[in-house]
Symmetry: C2
Subunit: 215 residues, 2 copies
DNA sequence: AATATTATGTTATAATATTAACAAAAACAA
DNA sequence: TTGTTTTTGTTAATATTATAACATAATATT
């Protein structure tokens, strides 16, 4: 029932996975689940599940388990989903366009309100119902529209400058897909996604398997 | 100099980041670096860097530090990069096409040898110099070509079946971008990439910042 | 050549994270 | 009901990970 311990980052990182699994259970119309049953499905220990949830006070009931819908919603609240956070995508290349069409963001409660690029040939076109705007009009847009999150899919050389402009314009969080690592004022939330990292990890695992080690 | 301790997964996960940073240093023609200097750039402790490298025997010299190129190459070897691993992409939707055009994979030594889809309109077209093939010909292709890694960007409903066919065809590692989590025989290396997970983590951080907690 | 400095590899210590244990509470069964 | 089973929240024990400390060796300096 203790609520004020600082929640370790490693616990926070696990919440999205819990959330996804619980969403699946919901779809299957499963009303309740025990930590033991969930642990089997998710391949973690029941103890860890209970411990994790307990950082937030615990959401279950002895002898019963957890109400799936309630738990799902509570984790969503912890993560700040469905708060109506808005996002823009900066960089309408292959990856930017793919992400713009990615319906999962909407499913998690994030609303795409703009896409920006500097390529004349792309500016003015529409992706997933959203107009691609000129990056030169970024400041104007940010002044008129609240933007919570920006997804960065620009080339490496552009990303630091763009990030600074976004922060200056009031954007609170950046999801950085570019290769460069950003240095920004304290207080700006940044998550880096380097898609070749898991590829390299995979390469290591394969090598291990080839050499007869367990994977 | 100890080499046979089991290397913790958390250390392996850090290697790609070291590798990327060292690649940057190389480009800047920096020949040597100390754990202290590297730790500042990467925002980790020097102790951790030395400890991490020591799992593999250590690559430095007392009083000198690390030779950047040597260290870069050694980490590459540990990760099994530039071993000529081949890869295919299954699912030529927005994300699959974006990944096919993603030059970083090649930079890390992975060679794209095929793209598969089931959409008649896409089959036969070319992405990044590689022909999109009919998924029905997957087995035939795998019989004729060694494929080490498959990137999965199919819709969720298709991914488990495709994964099984790939494994049967001899593919050793899967990089799964689809929402579903795969259950596969022991010994198959799998890395899951759920791009909405870091988005949710970011949402949490923003919420914390709004509530006045440090990020 | 002698000394001071640098910086590793490695061991020791501290901090975190995971798992196990279990009392208390609710659900279920007889 | 009453007793038995289930299953949580929570504390205790263990294991893992990160940091600090330092002896040793190479480099740099005088």
């Amino acid at each position: 029932m203790e609520e004020n311990r600082k929640v370790p980052a490693v616990v926070i990182k696990r919440l999205p996975r819990y959330y996804r699994y619980l969403g699946e259970l919901l779809k299957q119309d499963i009303k309740r689940i025990s930590s033991g049953a969930l642990s089997q499905k998710m391949n973690v220990t029941a103890s860890q599940i209970r411990q994790d949830f307990n950082y937030f006070g615990g959401f279950g009931q002895q002898g019963y388990g957890y109400n799936v819908e309630y738990l799902y919603n509570e984790i969503g609240k912890i993560l700040g989903l469905n708060d109506g956070d808005t996002m823009i995508i900066v960089g309408a290349g292959n990856l930017g366009r793919a992400l713009a069409s990615h319906s999962n963001f909407e499913k998690r409660g994030f609303k795409l309100v703009g896409v920006f690029d500097n390529n004349e040939n792309i500016i003015g076109s529409t992706i997933n119902g959203v107009k691609v705007m000129d990056i030169r009009n970024l400041e104007e847009f940010l002044a008129d529209n609240r933007v919570d999150i920006a997804i960065l899919t620009t080339p490496k050389r552009a990303v630091q400058e763009v990030a600074e402009r976004l922060v200056k314009g009031g954007v609170m969080g950046l999801l950085n897909f570019s290769y460069a690592e950003l240095s920004l004022p304290h207080g700006v939330a940044v998550e880096n996604v380097h898609i070749s990292d898991p590829m390299m990890t995979l390469s290591y695992k394969i090598k291990q398997a080839r050499e007869g080690h367990s994977v």
